[in-house]
Symmetry: C2
Subunit: 194 residues, 2 copies
């Protein structure tokens, strides 16, 4: 998506070999006009999949999920909560998410009634690297017998395996920008395929 790519090249920062910092316009500080353009781009990609609900995980996925849900005709948004521990409660469903960055495993969870069986779900998140967060969200859907009809990502780290694995497993995945690598602090983007 050209507008996001331009913004990444203008304001994004590459740190070390694998950190992509986009906090000035994508998370923490949000460029609202760009956000709603991103929502439109996801809606265009996934409209034919007829999603009925957008699922994400707190916190930085929420704004993007709202923009996508708005562009798809104001379908509901559900965000999973993170916690360090397993919660004992029959009303909730949870899944583990391993963080390679922090070398820790967290749980994500939602209340079961937010996600009825059979719901057609679009998963939205800000980053895709190893794919652990997306897999955790897919896990929640499987447990609830909801159908994941697509995965929309803002920034995919193309040099990490999550995107490739999801595509190979047949998931309809759309990343609005794909980072190929970081060279001397500069973010190198994959050419746009739009």
């Amino acid at each position: 998506m050209e507008a996001l790519r331009r913004k990444i090249l203008e304001l994004g920062k590459g740190i070390g070999k694998d950190i992509v910092k986009v906090d000035m316009f994508l998370n923490h500080r949000i460029d609202t006009a760009l956000l709603f353009q991103m929502g439109e781009a996801w809606a265009e990609e996934f409209r034919e999949e007829k999603p009925e609900l957008v699922l994400t995980v707190e916190a930085s996925g929420i704004a993007m999920a709202v923009a996508a849900a708005h562009a798809l005709g104001d379908i509901p948004v559900v965000f999973a909560k993170k916690s360090a521990t397993v919660v004992q409660n029959d009303d909730i469903v949870q899944a583990p998410v391993y963080s390679f960055t922090h070398k820790t495993e967290n749980m994500i969870r939602i209340e079961k009634r937010y996600l009825p069986a059979g719901t057609r779900v679009l998963i939205i998140d800000d980053f895709l690297a190893d794919g652990q967060a997306v897999r955790g969200l897919m896990n929640l859907c499987w447990q609830q017998e909801a159908k994941v009809v697509g995965v929309g990502i803002a920034v995919e780290k193309g040099f990490q395996p999550g995107g490739k694995q999801l595509r190979e497993s047949g998931v309809h995945l759309k990343s609005l920008a794909v980072v190929e690598g970081i060279e001397n602090g500069n973010i190198v983007l994959k050419p746009d395929d739009d």
Copy 2:
């Protein structure tokens, strides 16, 4: 705001004497159509204050801040992060938020560059009870010499002191629904003043 009031009476749950559960449409699971109506209501209230940025705190304030910012012409959104500890970093500004519910004090923080001096700020949050979160956000603004031009809240607990204190101190506060109390599990709302 009539649409929010109707939804609270239809789907909200009162628990004990002071817990108002609106997770099925306002936080965790979000009724996106209602969310954008709420954004329009805040925009109508605060447009004349000429806000340049919407400030909130993760996680459940984010969706509402985005809706308000969109209705105000896609001004930027900044959300403060929560953490249990004080972070040592010259690039950030932080403020304590005491939780009467959990009897704990947390810090909220943003990077200074998200909020330049002189910015006209609209604070948005989902709940107002004791007012600690709003005061923490106002504290961040004061430290940054930004101007708080208004505070927009979804659900104010009118039986707790935060709203009264903010109004008495001259803050332009707009709560879209005010809960007067909980009687036998039923949420009692203050008559609408629109």
